[in-house]
């Protein structure tokens, strides 16, 4: 099972960290492709194929940037396959464009662009998958070099023409796989060390005391002081009797209210949860909602008083909808990214939008099939 785990799934914030590298790597790959394409123009016999190659590498890069967005579900095997196939198509068309006129193997931009893109995958896919994919693409690229051996100028054994373009791809694949494996192992170690590390991130943040049940507040502030006085004096007046009856009635009422009130209603005033789904949530989901509520309260971008949570059970699963007004002239998108990324790792469906200055986040629990049915 751990073979399928990715660093992004285990640490969504790490996925956001790595995305900057994705954007930079794609930019480098595209510049590399365009510049080298112009520099080696004298070796290109079929410009149409070169144009297709450039389009394919651009599509691969754009798709990679899009699929690794924190606002999207975790980067999947399917996305990995699409990125690799488009980049490999670019390599093939780049070779086809130079068919019969490719005199120097090392200035082909296709393998270099593919290697640059492969380098970024360590945070998003498991080691075995990256290694398999890069081995296969390196083999294809090596084979392309081999079949063009006759046209290259250098006087070296033919196999060298397979090795030289394949090495960068295989090297970046191995590096990305080692990166992925090391990160996943560290993250699993951390998870298995249970709560020992949980406090490590808290040192710079003030801890708040969970809100006490209202009947216990009433007990501490009203009932117990009253009974202490009665026990101390040993005298009961008519007023004391009436006061005792009022206190007993209030205490019973508050106990009843506290029994009915969920943990969510203790932290948010406006909660609609007719089916009491909050009480059935898991530890991680509860923690996530607490984090969202805390963020809305601390952020200067939202009107925290307008936060409203709605929990509903459908035939297809459960949904949690959070709505809050954004303050005028603010854009919470950047602040929101880490929360959406973490939500993707906890819930089967995550949807969000900002419309009419209101941020709406919909979190769905259930299988992906169920989620599609909800949407």
């Amino acid at each position: 099972m751990s073979g399928q785990l990715t660093a992004q799934r285990l640490d969504p914030l790490g996925g956001i960290t790595a995305r900057v590298l994705v954007v930079v790597a794609v930019a480098i790959a595209l510049v590399e492709a365009v510049v080298m394409s112009r520099v080696t123009a004298d070796q290109i016999s079929y410009p149409a194929f070169e144009a297709v190659a450039l389009i394919a590498i651009a599509l691969s890069g754009v798709y990679l940037i899009r699929a690794t967005s924190p606002f999207r579900p975790a980067f999947s095997m399917r996305s990995h396959a699409i990125v690799c196939l488009l980049a490999l198509a670019a390599v093939v068309f780049n070779s086809a464009a130079q068919w019969g006129s490719n005199t120097v193997v090392r200035d082909d931009w296709g393998p270099l662009a593919l290697a640059t893109i492969t380098l970024t995958l360590g945070s998003y896919r498991p080691a075995r998958e990256i290694l398999l994919c890069s081995s296969m693409t390196a083999a294809v690229v090596g084979a392309l070099g081999l079949v063009q051996a006759d046209t290259f100028r250098s006087d070296v054994p033919e196999l060298v023409y397979a090795i030289i373009p394949a090495v960068p791809i295989f090297a970046t694949g191995v590096a990305a796989a080692a990166f992925s494996r090391s990160l996943v192992a560290s993250l699993l170690d951390w998870r298995s060390s249970a709560g020992a590390d949980a406090a490590s991130a808290l040192s710079d943040t003030e801890q708040s005391v969970p809100q006490k049940a209202s009947h216990l507040v009433h007990l501490d502030e009203q009932a117990i002081p009253f009974l202490r006085v009665v026990a101390h004096t040993g005298e009961v007046s008519e007023a004391d009797g009436a006061r005792a009856r009022v206190l007993a009635r209030e205490l019973r009422t508050l106990m009843l209210i506290d029994t009915e009130r969920s943990w969510l209603e203790r932290i948010v005033q406006r909660v609609s949860d007719p089916q009491r789904l909050a009480e059935r949530m898991g530890e991680s989901e509860r923690g996530f909602l607490r984090a969202v509520v805390a963020h809305v309260r601390h952020s200067e971008l939202f009107d925290a008083a307008t936060l409203r949570l709605s929990l509903r059970e459908h035939e297809t699963g459960q949904t949690v909808t959070a709505e809050v007004q954004c303050l005028p002239g603010t854009n919470p998108r950047v602040q929101l990214a880490p929360y959406i990324a973490v939500a993707h790792s906890l819930f089967s469906g995550v949807d969000w939008q900002i419309a009419d200055a209101t941020l709406t986040i919909v979190l769905a629990a259930g299988t992906p099939a169920r989620r599609r049915a909800i949407q």
Binding site: G14, G122, R191, L227, E235, G287, P338
Partner: protein, 389 residues
């Protein structure tokens, strides 16, 4: 369990992963150069490439030494740099004179070996500055090739692939650091939320038992006071009310304490926390609650001794992790700080290494405790500190 990976560990784990990736990246490039050269050597019997092949093997050995746990030690880094420099010089001297006169200093074989050396330079980023490692490696890779090329009258060209790889490593190392600060800004708040949830669950559990107690005691007493005729209460009734109030107050206090108290707190926990902020992964296990029960003076001294031990691990052990184990009996508490790092011979430590002598041994013996150190070069270190309760 926290919702997100703690920020204090993120940098260390990413550096370790980058270091492992860089090492294998270098190995593949070196292997590519080795196989290519071997094929050429086999194809042309007249070419004498064996010294160049040996040089590649030496460069990989230097990289492998850096990638091993002991590779963080300055001596290993220095020796690896010298070996890589010698390897680079031998490789250039063996290969360049045999290349065609038109070949420049950026020939593909030369580039592949330079890339391998640059990648090995990034490996030191696991513990030290990766940027410095890459820059130093780039110099080690490029200078011998330039000098030999000039000597042999070959053209000197900017090696675009090797330069691009060096710049890429520098960009990755720098971007990761900058991007991490931005993307993980929300980490502490999310971790706090997870912790709050744990405390809220404990509070709810405590409230549940407290509510049952309220129902059985306080509501009964209020009903009695509400129904009795005005006047003086019997001594038995007064005693009953006092007992009920005391019971509920006690249960409430215990519940609050259970929720608020952290069994592993104080100076020892602070020492662990500090070490984690320095990038050391500290695993804590055993009877940590026993530390909280120690007298304040003992806990403070023990905390400072633990801090010194963890400082030693960070400064000298050359590893990214350590273990702290607490064992307690009715009369004593023992804390062990264990690492699998470089180790040392205590009798041979320099006069400047006063930490173990004064900050650990002195403090603990002043409390009537004992300190034992098990260590040997290359075999890690375990420091046991035993104090009376």
């Amino acid at each position: 369990m926290s919702l997100v990976f703690p920020n204090s560990l993120a940098a260390a784990t990413a550096s370790l992963a980058l270091s492992r990736g860089a090492y294998l990246f270098g190995v593949v490039f070196a292997a590519g150069a080795f196989v290519t050269l071997l094929l050429v050597q086999l194809d042309r019997g007249t070419l004498v490439a064996w010294p160049a092949l040996a040089a590649i093997a030496a460069i990989v050995a230097a990289g492998t030494a850096l990638a091993r746990p002991s590779g963080d030690r300055p001596a290993v880094i220095a020796v690896s740099a010298v070996v890589a420099l010698a390897g680079s010089a031998v490789f250039a001297s063996a290969l360049i004179p045999r290349l065609a006169d038109s070949s420049a200093s950026d020939g593909i074989l030369l580039s592949m070996v330079k890339i391998a050396i640059v990648a090995f330079g990034a490996v030191v980023g696991r513990r030290h500055s990766g940027v410095l490692g890459v820059l130093a490696a780039a110099v080690i890779a490029e200078v011998p090739v330039l000098l030999v090329s000039l000597r042999e009258g070959h053209a000197v060209s900017l090696d675009v692939p090797a330069g691009a790889i060096a710049v890429s490593f520098l960009a990755v190392l720098s971007l990761f650091s900058v991007s991490r600060r931005r993307s993980r800004a929300s980490g502490p708040l999310m971790s706090l939320a997870g912790e709050e949830d744990r405390r809220a669950v404990e509070l709810a559990r405590a409230e549940h038992s407290s509510s049952a107690m309220v129902h059985d005691t306080i509501l009964n007493e209020l009903a009695v006071v509400g129904m009795v005729a005005p006047g003086t209460l019997s001594p038995a009734a007064r005693a009953q009310i006092s007992r009920s109030v005391d019971r509920v107050t006690l249960v409430g206090a215990d519940a609050a304490a259970a929720v608020a108290s952290d069994p592993f707190a104080g100076e020892v926990a602070s020492a662990v926390e500090w070490a984690r902020t320095q990038g050391l992964e500290v695993t804590v296990d055993g009877d940590t609650a026993a530390v909280a029960g120690l007298p304040a003076e003992t806990a403070t001294a023990l905390g400072r001794a633990v801090l010194q031990c963890l400082t030693n691990v960070i400064a000298h052990a050359g590893v990214a992790s350590a273990e702290l184990t607490v064992i307690s009996t009715d009369r004593e508490v023992c804390i062990m700080v264990i690492d699998s790092g470089a180790g040392f011979t205590e009798s041979e430590t320099g006069a400047d290494r006063l930490g173990l002598k004064h900050s650990v041994r002195g403090r603990i013996t002043d409390l009537g405790g004992t300190v034992q150190v098990w260590s040997a070069p290359g075999a890690g270190t375990a420091v046991s500190m035993l104090v009376p309760r």
